[in-house]
């Protein structure tokens, strides 16, 4: 079986079904949800098939309209793409399954448009990962962002304003990226990533190339919310509906991290950002402050969703730190953390969504007695919390382990220290929540009454369509942790840039 049409099918299937879903919704509303799940499943199948092809046969090329690479758009899939592609498609499928109860309770009348936007968002994210053309990447970046703005604005009271702010920042980021593309085009006359990486090394002394690199990195850093440019993230992700946050929070930032790795180590050769200019050093110091800042600000939050949003900023710092360390272990840690963090954040935000769905407030002082009402969800919360802290069987430990090893290899003891301190701070953060959930005595039974009419067994647990993804995420966190050695030897070690 040839795998050649799969790279385009991965994009086309969700894109076409995004528009078909509206037509289908006019016909019969109840068909929308199964249809979305079916197309997401097809996407997962295609991305798995691509990954299998990559493992057996190596890099996969697809030329759009059969135009040869430097002129036409090329979809180039190497182990790095395939790895991120599988993460994006699998997580969006699970979140898609889990979104149903939240959508039907939050926006019952407009669920069709929600599913349409959801698929467009997934299309954009998958497109960013698949494409091998810098301008095509910009277009997909904007597809993903525009769908994201609209999705965020659905949320609660502050959502449209947060979404507008995000839009201003996001547009600056995307425009900077576009300027970077323009500067590279002036110098090389090419937009193809593989072609650029061949043409650029002779031009590394040029100021224009330097400027292009700066625009790229700043633009992508805004999209992935790296520390000084993170301002839009906490508001946008707190006010967005939980079904949206659980899709956007794990994936947009991780895809941004992928673009950063692709630009720094793919389009530009690694020695440019390590030796020609001190980009990696600057990046790791930004990451250093991102980790500290994210954790410390998370300490000040009483709202669980906002707290996790700040933890996310710290987690992005981990990935950027791994990229900035620029040695084998650091990059292994960064790539592994892209996967692990996507799983952890998806799980945490889905749990927050399940809690708000059952009528619980997000203020953590009022979580008392939650473990008796939602035992399985809370068990999953504990697992993902342990993973964020970095306790062995959970996957978060392994990526942090590699990051610490990378920092030791680079002899950057401050970075080792910040990684350990942030684990400590994460422990404080999450044990505080766990204490409220499990150990605080229930003061007055009458104080919190989420959906009282359901008194039968498990009546207050999250609905099954949400519970299954949550359980799957929790199991994935554990099994990915145990299998991380296999994953590294099968995929990730080939995803590293050459000479690492």
């Amino acid at each position: 079986m040839t795998a050649s049409p799969f790279p385009i099918l991965v994009i086309v299937v969700p894109l076409i079904s995004a528009f078909l879903i509206i037509l289908l919704g006019w016909l019969k509303k109840s068909l929308c949800y199964p249809f979305m799940i079916a197309s997401l499943m097809a996407t997962v199948f295609f991305s798995m098939a691509i990954l299998r092809w990559i493992i057996h046969h190596g890099t996969l090329h697809y030329y759009l309209g059969n135009w040869d690479p430097p002129w036409g758009i090329e979809y180039l899939i190497d182990p790095l793409n395939a790895f991120v592609l599988v993460i994006v498609s699998v997580i969006s499928l699970l979140i898609g399954i889990g979104s149903k109860p939240m959508v039907e309770s939050d926006i019952p009348r407009k669920s069709i448009y929600f599913y349409c936007l959801f698929l467009l968002q997934v299309t954009g994210l998958l497109g960013i990962v698949v494409t091998g053309d810098v301008f095509n990447l910009y277009v997909f970046l904007e597809i993903a962002s525009l769908a994201g703005y609209a999705l965020i604005a659905i949320g609660e009271e502050g959502a449209p304003f947060a979404s507008f702010n995000y839009m201003i920042y996001g547009t600056i980021g995307a425009c900077f990226y576009l300027l970077g593309v323009g500067y590279l085009y002036i110098m090389t006359g090419s937009l193809n990533m593989a072609d650029l990486s061949k043409l650029l090394p002779d031009l590394y002394a040029s100021k224009v190339v330097l400027m292009a690199f700066a625009f790229f990195v700043v633009g992508v850093a805004i999209k992935m919310a790296l520390f000084p440019l993170h301002v839009w993230l906490p508001d946008a992700y707190t006010y967005a509906p939980s079904s949206v946050t659980s899709l956007l929070a794990p994936l947009t930032t991780k895809v941004g991290a992928y673009v950063l790795i692709r630009i720094m180590y793919g389009v530009f050769k690694p020695n440019f950002s390590i030796e020609v200019i001190p980009a990696t050093t600057i990046l790791s110091w930004m990451a250093f402050f991102a980790i500290l800042f994210g954790c410390v600000l998370a300490l000040g939050q009483r709202d669980l969703k906002r707290m996790v949003a700040y933890v996310l900023i710290a987690e992005i710092g981990y990935i950027a730190l791994g990229v900035g360390l620029a040695n084998r272990n650091g990059l292994l840690g960064a790539l592994l953390h892209i996967m692990n963090d996507a799983l952890m954040m998806a799980c945490l935000f889905l749990i927050v969504g399940a809690m708000t769905y059952r009528g619980w407030p997000r203020q953590m002082e009022r979580f008392t007695g939650l473990h008796r009402k939602m035992p399985i969800t809370m068990a999953a919360f504990v697992i993902s919390a342990l993973s964020v802290i970095g306790i062995p069987p959970a996957c978060g430990f392994f990526s942090k382990w590699y990051l610490v090893l990378g920092a030791i290899d680079a002899e950057q003891w401050l970075f080792v220290a910040v990684l350990l301190i942030s684990s400590l701070l994460n422990a404080i953060l999450f044990f505080r929540v766990i204490e409220y959930v499990y150990f605080e005595p229930v003061a007055k039974e009458s104080e919190v009454k989420p959906s009282e009419e359901r008194t039968k067994f498990m009546g207050n647990e999250a609905p099954l369509t949400m519970l299954i993804p949550i359980i799957l995420f929790a199991l994935a966190i554990l099994s990915v942790g145990l299998l991380s050695g296999t994953i590294i030897s099968l995929v990730i070690q080939f995803a590293l840039p050459a000479n690492f």
Partner: protein
Amino acid sequence: MEQVIGKYNYWIYIILMMIGFYAMIGKKNLVKKLIGMNIFQTSIILFFISTGSKKGATIPIVSNGHEGIHRAIEAFQYMNPLPHVLMLTAIVVMVSTFGVALALLLMIYRRYQTLDEDEILRLRRK
């Protein structure tokens, strides 16, 4: 001086970009921010189009192409069409961003009856 006059289109691009940037960050009214965003994006279009143009060049259509293949095509006589095509895509992106932004502003205005950033933040804090 020759740098300024000879490449005036690039200077205009930089000036426009800074105006847009200032409006996006410095202005308190959300509509002004949006207009700033538009100026910012337009300046990038000017930049891209400038990179494709040449003095005295014409549109890239090779007349009598099918019979005069043996005649060499001199590239300096033709403009580079690729930046224009890229900008067509970018204009589509711009228009849709503008549309989404206007829809968001409508939602904000219906909720707070104002489009002033400070005023909205004051109302939100209550």
